[in-house]
């Protein structure tokens, strides 16, 4: 039993993983075919798993309704929507098209709801920025100054302000304008930091992959420590 639960999945992961690496270095049709096939398998497995996921969702909301937990009314709404969309999609409209009820619901109910959630980000950014840019420490002050230059420098107002100051006070012409400063901040210090993180990430990804392929890391299989 241990073999089927531990060793066999490990062997499958290692063999398939190494073949995937080899397929990166070889254009041989059987390897490329296997690579494409493996990706298709992922899609197929994901679709089967979706059925399990939907049942999990239904069960979680059923429990909420049964126990009358806080906000269980939303669970009823979820059930109504799930049943309605499934009925429309499977029974009423076998071929889903743009003028139908299914797509209408998707376009005029689902999309505005998701966009509403997304638009909350603007307010959250403002509140997070307020906290981050309070100049309490030297680091926070540097960040605040950098952010101000960047925000003003990336809009037309920044260029207008810089031009105005350069024209009025000639000596300031030796100082770059706000757009140039913003561009420098993005392309030099910010880019350097991002590339350093990218390098660490790339090495981390390869090291983690090697751990998995060599069977050193088995935690993701439920193996524990």
């Amino acid at each position: 039993m241990g073999f089927f639960k531990r060793q066999l999945p490990m062997i499958i992961v290692s063999v398939v993983g190494f073949l995937m690496i080899v397929s990166y270095f070889s254009p041989a049709p059987f390897l490329q075919g296997m690579f494409t096939g493996a990706n298709e398998w992922v899609q197929i497995i994901a679709n089967f798993a979706l059925v399990i996921g939907v049942f999990s969702l239904m069960r979680a909301h059923y429990i909420k309704i049964k126990r009358k937990e806080a906000g269980y009314g939303y669970s009823i709404v979820m059930y109504i929507c799930l049943i309605f969309m499934t009925f429309v999609g499977l029974a009423l409209e076998r071929n889903i098209k743009s003028g139908g009820v299914f797509m209408w619901m998707f376009k005029w109910v689902n999309t505005p709801l998701t966009m509403t959630t997304f638009s909350l980000l603007a307010f959250y950014i403002a509140s997070a920025a307020y906290r981050a840019f309070r100049a309490r420490t030297f680091d926070a002050t540097v960040m605040l100054v950098g952010a101000l230059i960047l925000m003003i420098g990336r809009v037309p107002l920044g260029a207008m302000l810089s031009d105005f100051v350069h024209q009025q006070i000639t000596v300031t012409q030796i100082i770059p304008g706000l757009p140039e400063m913003a561009g420098w901040l993005l392309s030099v210090p910010a880019m350097a930091a991002r590339r350093a993180i990218f390098l660490g990430l790339a090495v981390g990804i390869v090291a983690t992959s090697l751990r998995i392929l060599f069977g050193i890391e088995r935690t993701y299989m439920g193996g524990g420590d």
């Binding site: 690496i21 990166y24 270095f25 070889s26 254009p27 041989a28 049709p29 497995i45 994901a46 798993a49 979706l50 059925v51 399990i52 996921g53 939907v54 999990s56 969702l57 069960r59 979680a60 906000g71 689902n110 709801l113 998701t114 966009m115 959630t117 997304f118 909350l120 980000l121 959250y124 950014i125 509140s127 997070a128 920025a129 906290r131 981050a132 991002r194 350093a196 993180i197 990218f198 390098l199 660490g200 990430l201 090495v203 981390g204 990804i205 390869v206 090291a207 983690t208 090697l210 751990r211 060599f214 050193i216 890391e217 935690t219 993701y220 299989m221 439920g222 193996g223 524990g224 420590d225």
Partner: protein, 428 residues
Amino acid sequence: MSGKTHSGKCGFFAVSLTVFLCIAMATVGIGQPGELVLPAEFKAIDTPHDAGKSILLVWSRSPSEETRADKGLEYVIYEATSPEGPFKVEEKAIVGLEDTLCSDAPALFGFSPRHKNFRFVEISQVDEETEEVRQHWYRLGIRDETVTEPVMLDTIVTAKARMNYFMSHRWNTLLVLLLMAGLVLVCIEWAKKHPDLFIRKIPGIDAVDEAIGRATEMGKPIMYLTGYSDIDSIATIASINILAHVAKKVAQYDSRLIVPNKWAVTMTLTQEVVKQAYINAGRPDAYNADDIFFIAGEQFSYVAAVDGMMVREKPATNFFLGSFAAESLLLAETGFSIGALQIAGTDSTYQIPFFVTACDYCLIGEELYAASAYLSREPRLLGNLKGQDITKIILTILILLGSVLMSLHVFYPEQHWLQAIKHFFAAL
């Protein structure tokens, strides 16, 4: 007298007209295809490191490119199924003067100062109807807007498309991969003999115990999110590895763990991992599969559901570990608003500033991948971490060296070996 004068005038007019026409024709080039100079060299070669489905046609640049570039000069490839012809124009094989220099494709031709004098085009040898690879013969023509028919080169070329089993232009990647794999294996062996390896402190991971303890004391649950990506992302796998350790601690502390999932495959995996962690902690009875569930594959539906759950359940601790996109701040700010202690880590550089701002601890970059080894303290995993660090040092040295050599290339542009080094780093 007058007739003589008349004929003299006519003669002068005729000569003037002829001279004018000659100048005009020479300028415009009408009817003078001979002025288009044909390439001196034209050859066909197999496309390196492909699956034997195409060939490359390579020819030297015509001197007319210098004089007639503004007249829409282009090369025309003619194809035939036999050397005898008939040759017909391939629609895809009309080659302009942009982006077709051999020097622009070092992956195919390597580095040589000669390559900037040659152009190329890749031609598929696969029959569209039968999908079989068939050999073809080619001729090269040259034309511009001043001629009606292209001027043809007599040379007929062909090449056989061969299967290449190794993509030779990726040798540098293979080299680094083998180097890293070797280092990792050596370091693992070394770590087995020297288990007390020094690993620098990672505050975000050190805070895991504190975060779980806090939730236990407050009698509130812990929420763990594995991120936006499915199980095919390494960041998600790294997150699930950390989840196993967190779940074990949660089981030991007798607290409650909630894991809402965006993907069904991730859900099944997290259920299995958490269940095993509870068994390992000796608390299989405390495991509740209903706390690990699927929400929605759609990004903002997932966010809305998780945010709602946070507001209702008020978890004492939130873990955001994995790949995150636009939802990062929506989740982290909601968690902040309910006063949860938050530990985040992501491989998305765009989301790191949001997590740094809104969370108490943030794992930056490779710390996410190191967390599992850091938590387990298992010598083999720590050895892997050391191998990773050494590789990073080697890569940093190589980058510094590459930067110096590239700077030297500015002063010594004729040194093409410097350019070859640039290619090595660019293709890495």
